[in-house]
């Protein structure tokens, strides 16, 4: 880490000035800016500036940018690459040798991976298709279903992370900064935390229609207290920092103190928390789909692919194995990304050399 070392340089830069003598004739600071409403300082003598300016700021060994530092971290690189591949795959699903993932052909049921077979839709159209990962008990192409299923998983992961962060940050900032709101907000958060997450999601989906939005909300709500607690604790620390007090003394309104001074300094742990929420959300979505209370059955998700393959896992393992592997891999990638971000962004872990 170059931070503590930069302190060494800087004391050097100050010393040449000393010998030169700091004092120099009178310079005037004329309050040229007649500030509104206040008594300006008495004007000094209008002499010209003869600035005896201190040596310039050390061209700090700031070294590499944050992005470069992040990229140097193996975990970040791996996680980001896997996720980028997944996103690209999910987005480009129609062009990657897939067919409509809902198409059924009982004749080509339970094909082993790597088979090429004639596919006849229920409408009677036939075409040759290569089943890269085999097919399920209804003859649907597993590769297509997994790629399209990735869309749901990624959307849920990102959606839940964003929603939980947004609401959690709002509540956490309010609770941490305004002492009066603290008790109320945090007791409500405790209450929400007391509800088992999956149970809550099942209930919510049962009450509303199962849809992407419902599922995102259902998974995000139990995550909100965790984010809010984190934000609150970070805010409690940062609000004691002298630069926040200085902002208060400068009459900065509370919302500006929060958005300009507190939030930017709390963002690193939040990004990290976001990745963990994202990973958890992908898992919970798969669990819900597996239990049959997630997305409607006509939309393929990794969870309901596995649920369908569960009964014949011993004969035809592919429809549990491949989505399961992909799910684990995705969650691993997201978690690694989070760990890498923490190691590079969070100064507390930074010092320990992660």
């Amino acid at each position: 880490m170059s931070e503590p070392l930069s302190g060494l340089t800087t004391s050097q830069s100050a010393s040449p000035v000393l010998q030169g003598g700091v004092k120099r004739g009178s310079r005037s600071l004329e309050p040229k800016a007649p500030l509104k409403g206040g008594g300006g300082a008495p004007a000094g003598r209008p002499e010209s500036f003869t600035p005896n300016i201190e040596s310039p700021a050390t061209t700090a060994p700031r070294g590499v940018s944050t992005a470069r530092r992040l990229w140097r971290n193996g975990a970040v690189r791996f996680g980001a690459c896997v996720l980028a591949l997944l996103v690209a795959g999910a987005a480009a699903a129609p062009w990657l040798g897939t067919i409509d993932p809902t198409l059924i052909d009982p004749a080509s049921a339970n094909l082993p991976p790597g088979t090429s077979a004639e596919f006849m839709t229920l409408g009677g159209d036939t075409f040759q298709h290569w089943f890269a990962l085999g097919s399920d008990s209804l003859g649907r192409d597993l590769w297509s279903r997994m790629l399209y299923g990735a869309r749901v998983s990624l959307a849920v992961g990102a959606g839940v992370a964003l929603l939980a962060l947004a609401i959690g940050i709002l509540l956490g900032l309010a609770a941490g900064y305004f002492r009066r709101l603290d008790g109320v907000i945090m007791r409500i958060m405790d209450g929400v935390m007391a509800i088992p997450g999956i149970l809550f999601a099942i209930t919510l989906i049962a009450v509303w229609q199962p849809s992407l939005a419902t599922i995102v909300i259902a998974i995000a709500v139990p995550e909100i207290p965790r984010v809010a607690r984190l934000v609150r604790s970070v805010v409690l620390t940062i609000r004691e920092e002298p630069y926040v007090e200085a902002a208060v003394a400068l009459d900065t309104p509370a919302w500006k103190v929060l958005t300009r001074h507190i939030l930017p300094n709390a963002i690193a742990p939040l990004i990290i928390q976001g990745t963990y929420v994202c990973a958890a959300a992908i898992l919970v979505e798969a669990i819900l789909s597996f239990l049959g209370v997630g997305m409607p059955p006509e939309i393929p998700t990794w969870g309901n692919i596995m649920a369908e393959g569960r009964t014949q896992f011993t004969q035809y393992p592919q429809s549990v194995l491949f989505p399961g592997l992909l799910l684990s891999f995705t969650v691993l990638a997201v978690n690694l990304l989070g760990d890498g971000l923490r190691d590079t962004l969070d100064p507390k872990f930074n010092k320990r050399g992660g």
Binding site: L5, G7, T9, T10, S11, A14, P42, T58, L250
Partner: protein, 561 residues
Amino acid sequence: MTTSQSASPALPRAATEPVLAVRKLSITLPAGADRPLAVEHIDFEVAAGQTVCLLGESGSGKSVIAQAVMGLLPAGLKAIEGGITLNGRELLPLTLTQLRRLRGPAMAMVFQEPMTALNPVQRCGDQVDEILREHTRLSAAERRREVLRIFARVRLPEPERIYASYPHQLSGGQRQRIVIAIALILKPALLICDEPTTALDVTTQAEILKLITELQRENGTAVLFITHDFGVVAEIADRVVVMQLGRMVEQGNKLDVLQAPRQDYTRMLLAAVPELGGRSRPPLPDGPALLDARALSKTYATGSWPGRRRTVQAATDISLSVHPGETVGIVGESGSGKSTVARCIARLIEPSSGDILAGGQSVAKARGRTLSPFRRQVQVVFQDPYRSLNPRQTVGASIIEGPLNFGVPREQAWRRAEELMRLVRMQPSALHRYPNQFSGGQRQRISIARALACEPKVLIADEAVSALDVSVQAQILDLLNDIQQRLRIGILFITHDLRVASQICDRVIVMQQGRIVEQGRINDVFFAPQHLYTKTLLAAAPGRGFAFGSREPAAPQPILA
């Protein structure tokens, strides 16, 4: 005391070998650091019973030497040249296990911050006991007796009670005594003290220094004492090694170095040491007070339902006023309530009772927008320059924040920020940079510029120079003086350092345990103190009355208790 031998280390050495000898030691820094070597060609020795002070400003590499001796160099730092011998034994080639066996019986270290040096979840007695368990074969009862004996020797009251106490239950001075007990219980030949009194109050510091000297005399310990404080050096050193940026600038006997320094750098450092003795201050114009605090009190309540509520009286019945062009100092030790008073007056916290008048208006209970006019008039400069600027904002954004809040157009605020940068003697181009590119002293200048941007009438400086090196400290004090003369602002200057207070203040207020015990003009309070506490404080200031550099001895000596 040995004679000066820095010029020719080849002089015939005394019959006794030095306890510690550091020979041509060079230590590398990791690649990408600001300089290739942390320390370069360091050469000195410490004899039994002798105290050698390593003196230098932050970044001079003095702590690295201590770490190298103890075998505690952080990863990335490596001794590449030279050697360290302890009682004739080379330390650098030793393995970790061999070094560990030496730490305790042969050498020991006292750190700056006793709270972090002690384990917070272990009783103090057990922490000392651990050393005995590790290095001796004494029985449990014998060890206990030994621990109690060393507690008595480091002058801890009620050794039995202390034995069973946790570190947080003790005062800072008592904690440091525990650390010293741990260091000295095995009677090591070498004791390394790394700024052991920097975190302590001045009266505690005096006691700890006395204790170290006493124990050293009893055991004939060699002491390597690291400090940045010339007062401490004057108090305890036999020999002094002056360091600058990893190089040895000068070494010699205390009197030679402190009173007849040969190097410019040493001379510059000595000149920057604040003296206890008032400067001549321009007379103050009569006029109404800018800021008037009346019978201010602050009570903190800790604990909430259902726990037990406790109240702490942090400040009681404080009255003070600040006039244009006047500097009022508040001095006191930690816990005296001086910062509470400052924060009340700056209205960062609300006083429990009493009144604050600014420009004739009461602001003690004002809130929110009604405080705005007051905020313009009173600005604060904080202690820690590394925490008082938002690291995610450019310097310029920080400085214009206040004026923007008060409705000044952005361009105008920016132009004024450029002027202010010149006023605090920095380049206007610095406005576009981030705080981490500046040194502590530069950051403090920026903080001052930010405070001045609102054109305040009163500046509250809360320990504004305490975290700075002595040379930078002198510059900032000059700057504050200069700005005050030019803008005729009032300054409320909070400090624990009497010498600093005497350099800049017109009047001074001495606080103890939340109350004002004495106040008056600098010369009256410092040279004819009335209250016992003031006398104790003055007597405890290290190096008092020591004539640094080639200066004339400080003219009138403070009268001491």
